[in-house]
């Protein structure tokens, strides 16, 4: 990875919405209609990108939260998946945000992409199923 890529600011795309559950979070991309589950460490890292962070900053924060040097591979892989899925994209500047905390034992961050995206075109405002041809 180039130095430039490591230091560029990445931020969660505005049309990705998130809900947090007890030990994980769910991300929904309103553009692609795909949704994703991230585990507790994954959510901690993802939160850094709500206000904007570089790859290096995200890895440093994970180390401060209890990740070891041996965990850097999965952390890098997780961040690159966020980039590949276009959940985070390059940003020009950071936004004000709250301090992100992580409590608990560190484990490899995971991002599970659910196989079936939500329908783009549906029967009606109530019925989300695929319409039949007229």
């Amino acid at each position: 990875m180039s130095t430039q890529a490591s230091t560029e600011i990445l931020a969660l795309r505005p049309d990705v919405v998130v809900t947090t559950l007890e030990r994980e979070a769910v991300l929904l991309d309103l553009e692609t209609k795909y949704f994703y589950s991230v585990n507790h460490p994954g959510w901690a890292i993802t939160q850094l990108f709500e206000s904007g962070a570089t790859r290096i900053e995200a890895r440093d924060r994970a180390l401060a939260w209890g990740a070891g040097n041996g965990d850097l591979g999965p952390i890098t892989e997780f961040i690159e998946r966020l980039v590949t899925e276009r959940l985070v994209t390059r940003a020009e500047e950071r936004l004000p945000g709250e301090e992100v905390r992580f409590e608990g034992t560190w484990s490899a961050p995971t991002l599970q992409k659910h196989r079936e995206p939500l329908q783009r075109v549906m029967v009606s405002a109530f019925d989300p199923t695929l319409p039949l041809a007229e």
Binding site: E22, M122, S124, P128
Partner: protein, 329 residues
């Protein structure tokens, strides 16, 4: 427009007033609204739909907020609180989900078949937005309950929700409906389901399994698109309808995959979330999508998921459903 051309009907938590000069148009909308026949406690939130006939036709919009088969919905360019729905028939409607006030213009035409079909889509939009504003999330699923357990029945239209509901009613279950429900989280975080429709759409051939439904083919067909007939379950199975429940299970129904009359498997939590999220419409609006995602994901986390595959002969023998009932208990 004179209010003598007005009619009203309660649809769940909404009190909907319809104003239209045309008896045909007003009648079509009222027919659609009257499908919602479960009485909710007062107070209800007011909603108003006013329809005018005009000589011009509107073009379809981009559908960036929501894209349906015959309706595209976009945010108004002049007021982001307002939604603008355009229809393939050339009708157009604008409304503010917060105030519940909607105005529609429909093209004056001798052949109004598609315009009347599009009015159903308009009603669906107005109600869905109204329910969301009242704090409820529309869920396209059936629900049955017994002994403190309540199962959401999830399948595509025509996927067997109604037949399974009837089969379970015959085994002592009650129902909140076979197709349309509302969901919210209570103050304590627990999910609450409410009924909207206590009418089933049953195909005449189901009589071979459930003879007490009678000769359904003698009832009027209610839609151009289906052979199904409207049945009031209380008329056949008295005391079987419920108005509210706390969901505990989710049943994802498939047909003829296993080769067995019935096959039951536990679902992983990710599959429960995925199935449940596919039962509701999520518009491309950050605030609304976030709320829907939050309620659905939290509820999914509290549900036990069951993947249920039904063979063609499943209802031929009553005991075939014991496997499902064991999983639901």
């Amino acid at each position: 427009m004179s209010t003598t051309h007005a009619a009203r009907h309660a649809c769940g938590p909404l009190d909907v007033k319809v104003i239209a000069d045309s008896d045909t148009v007003r009648g079509k909308i009222m027919d659609t609204l009257e499908l919602y026949n479960v009485i909710w406690p007062q107070p209800l939130s007011p909603v108003r739909i006013e329809i005018r006939e005009v000589d011009n036709r509107a073009d379809l919009g981009a559908g960036e907020y929501l894209e349906c088969a015959r309706m595209h919905v976009d945010r108004s360019l002049t007021d982001e609180q307002m939604l603008e729905a355009t229809f393939k028939s050339g009708a157009v409607a604008t409304g503010n989900p917060s105030s519940g006030i909607w105005t529609a213009s429909i093209p004056r035409s001798d052949d109004d078949f598609w315009t009347l079909i599009d009015l159903e889509s308009l009603v669906s939009l107005v109600l869905t937005e109204g329910w969301r504003h009242a704090g409820w999330i529309p869920i396209h699923a059936g629900a049955v309950a017994r002994n403190g357990h309540c199962a959401l029945l999830c399948a595509q239209s025509g996927g067997g929700k109604t037949s399974l509901t009837v089969a379970l009613i015959r085994r002592g279950w009650q129902t909140l409906g076979d197709d349309k429900l509302l969901l919210r989280l209570r103050d304590d975080g627990s999910p609450e389901l409410r009924a909207l429709v206590h009418t089933f759409n049953l195909h005449p051939r189901t009589r071979s399994w459930f003879p007490e439904v009678g000769e359904l083919e003698n009832l009027p067909v209610y839609s151009e698109w289906t052979e199904k007939r409207k049945v009031h379950p209380e008329d056949i199975w008295s005391g079987t309808t419920l108005t509210e429940a706390t969901p505990t299970h989710l049943v994802d129904i498939s047909r003829n995959k296993s080769g067995e009359p019935v096959s039951v498997e536990r679902m992983q939590s990710g599959a429960v979330l995925s199935t449940f999220l596919h039962q509701t419409v999520v518009p491309a609006d950050r605030r609304k999508a976030k709320h829907i995602l939050g309620v659905v994901a939290r509820t999914a986390g509290m549900l036990e998921g069951i993947s249920l595959d039904l063979g063609d002969d499943v209802y031929a023998a009553p005991d075939h459903l014991t496997l499902l009932e064991d999983a639901l208990s």
